[in-house]
């Protein structure tokens, strides 16, 4: 019962019946279906982000031995909602000298790029919008859009700091994207498939999780992923001490909120991908049917999000040259090494089909 899939199907069949009555053609219904799913997904994402914001503040407070937001609700639970509403009605100051269209569309691109990943993410058993056959590649492709968003934000706001910030963050994201994609290769070599659903189904129990066979791959992936989200050790661009707020200096109001939202979504996505590819996604350690699949999925991802938050208050911020050097001089060679090792490993142990 806990599998949400059944509930969703029931709801869906009701809706279909309703629309059919209205005489809307079949294909239109399908589209409406997808639209509904998209809206629902947006809602889920929004809720998760709100929770994450709150959780992050609580965790960071806990780590700094303080209480964090307590006043708004029980333990400040509705603090983020208050923030959201605040941002909604804050004045959006757009400077005169900016290149308005670029400035306006940058947050949209960034958020949409982050949001579109969840089309092919398997939240649970059957809980996948559409299991693309080129899933992994799709995810990597979509994440490159964030770079475009960054650059647009940087250039659009016509501000030296934002321009420089845009450049640096773009360079950083770009540098870490290569090891990220190479790390995933190991998994693909073993799973021989790009679709996330099948990868998860292949990891049906604890022992078959790919992390054991791809420890180096996972390590590289995880480090690259944190860099992708501009999280702590690699959060140089929008570090307060450095370039004001990096490429978001000129943004305020809802556009700023959108960037903020996109950042947390990226954080969540990173952990989702880590979980799906290396830790069996919605698979419980004991088999496919052991408890609600999405519960497992959310647990694992929340754990990895916690790890990200954990990184934030443990590691010192890297210098720019260390940051970049690390990507090219350490991660990339390791990634290649990983590929070779997995290649040999597959050849030696599993034998080739």
């Amino acid at each position: 019962m806990l599998e949400l899939r059944g509930i969703i199907d029931a709801i869906w069949s009701f809706i279909v019946g309703l629309l059919a009555g209205l005489g809307i053609p079949q294909w239109a219904i399908e589209l409406v279906g997808y639209a509904l799913i998209a809206v629902v997904m947006f809602g889920v994402v929004a809720v998760i982000v709100l929770f994450l914001v709150w959780w992050e503040r609580k965790v960071s407070a806990k780590m700094q031995d303080r209480l964090g937001p307590m006043r708004v609700g029980w333990h400040g639970i509705i603090q983020t909602i208050a923030d959201a509403i605040k941002l909604l009605q804050k004045e959006d100051i757009t400077p005169k000298a900016i290149d308005f269209p670029i400035h306006f569309w940058a947050p949209v691109v960034t958020f949409v790029a982050a949001f579109m990943v969840y089309v092919t993410v398997p939240f649970g058993k059957g809980l996948i919008v559409s299991d693309l056959s080129v899933g992994v590649l799709y995810i990597i492709a979509i994440t490159t859009f964030t770079v475009i968003g960054l650059l647009m934000a940087g250039w659009g706001s016509n501000n030296k700091y934002s321009l420089l910030g845009g450049f640096r963050s773009a360079a950083q994201v770009v540098s870490y994207e290569v090891p990220l994609s190479l790390a995933l290769l190991g998994v693909i070599m073993i799973s021989q498939t790009l679709s996330l659903g099948t990868i998860v189904t292949q990891q049906d129990n604890l022992l078959k999780w790919y992390v054991w066979r791809q420890p180096l791959g996972f390590l590289i992936f995880w480090i690259a992923a944190t860099a992708e989200c501009n999280r702590t050790p690699f959060d140089l661009p929008e570090a307060d001490s450095e370039l004001v707020a990096g490429f978001v200096t000129e943004y305020s109001g809802m556009k700023f909120a959108m960037f903020f939202l996109a950042e947390f979504v990226n954080m969540f996505t990173a952990s989702v991908v880590a979980v799906t590819l290396f830790f069996g996604g919605w698979m419980s350690p004991f088999g496919p049917d052991f408890g609600p699949s999405w519960m497992w999925f959310l647990g694992k991802t929340m754990f990895f999000v916690f790890v990200l938050m954990w990184f934030r208050w443990t590691y010192p911020r890297l210098r720019v040259d260390q940051l970049m050097g690390f990507a090219w001089k350490v991660l990339l060679p390791l990634a290649f090494l990983n590929i070779l090792l997995t290649g040999l490993g597959i050849y030696l142990f599993d034998g080739l089909k």
Binding site: W27, V134, L137, A141, T144, I148, L151, M152, G156
Partner: protein, 166 residues
């Protein structure tokens, strides 16, 4: 309205996006705008690949063109264009003749393409092309595969030598 009309609709929408994007890329005054329109056009081309069931190629298109090449273009624009320059006249003086000639070219192209009888075979596309591409690449097109690595090396070294400021 059948399934086909849906695909027709999407095709026309996508082609409209591609053409409009192309025209804007070429004709927009602000260089950065044209870069962004380029990204939009490439994305729509990727969509077109999806229409043609070439999913892997679509992903590759998005990954390389949008992620790398377009990003490179934007980098180039940002590095070389002073903000003030962006407003300069962006079209040189031979735009009108060029327009005319391109018009003629298009007319001939269309005329040429329209009446050449391509042999269209009815065999449906295989669903998953990724694996097929992979095997094909590794077996039949090995040489180009290795040559591409050399090409990339050459491009890398060349670009580094040219761009490195010493």
């Amino acid at each position: 309205m059948t399934e086909i009309s849906l695909t027709n609709l999407t095709f026309y929408i996508l082609s409209f996006c591609i053409i409009a994007g192309g025209i804007f890329t070429v004709s927009s005054r602000n260089l950065f705008h044209s870069a962004v329109f380029l990204v939009f056009t490439l994305f729509s081309v990727a969509g077109m690949f999806v229409m043609l069931n070439a999913y892997l190629l679509a992903a590759i298109q998005v990954l390389i063109y949008v992620g790398a090449v377009a990003m490179l273009m934007i980098f180039g624009v940002m590095l070389t264009t002073r903000l003030a320059d962006v407003r300069l006249r962006h079209v040189n003086e031979q735009s009108w003749p060029a327009l005319a000639i391109c018009g003629f070219f298009l007319a001939f192209l269309v005329y040429g393409l329209w009446d050449t009888p391509f042999t269209v075979s009815g065999v449906p596309m295989p669903a998953d092309t990724a694996h097929a591409l992979g095997t094909l690449l590794m077996t039949k097109y090995v040489l180009p595969f290795e040559v591409v690595s050399l090409l990339l090396l050459a491009a890398l070294v060349g670009a580094v030598v040219i761009a490195k400021k010493d």
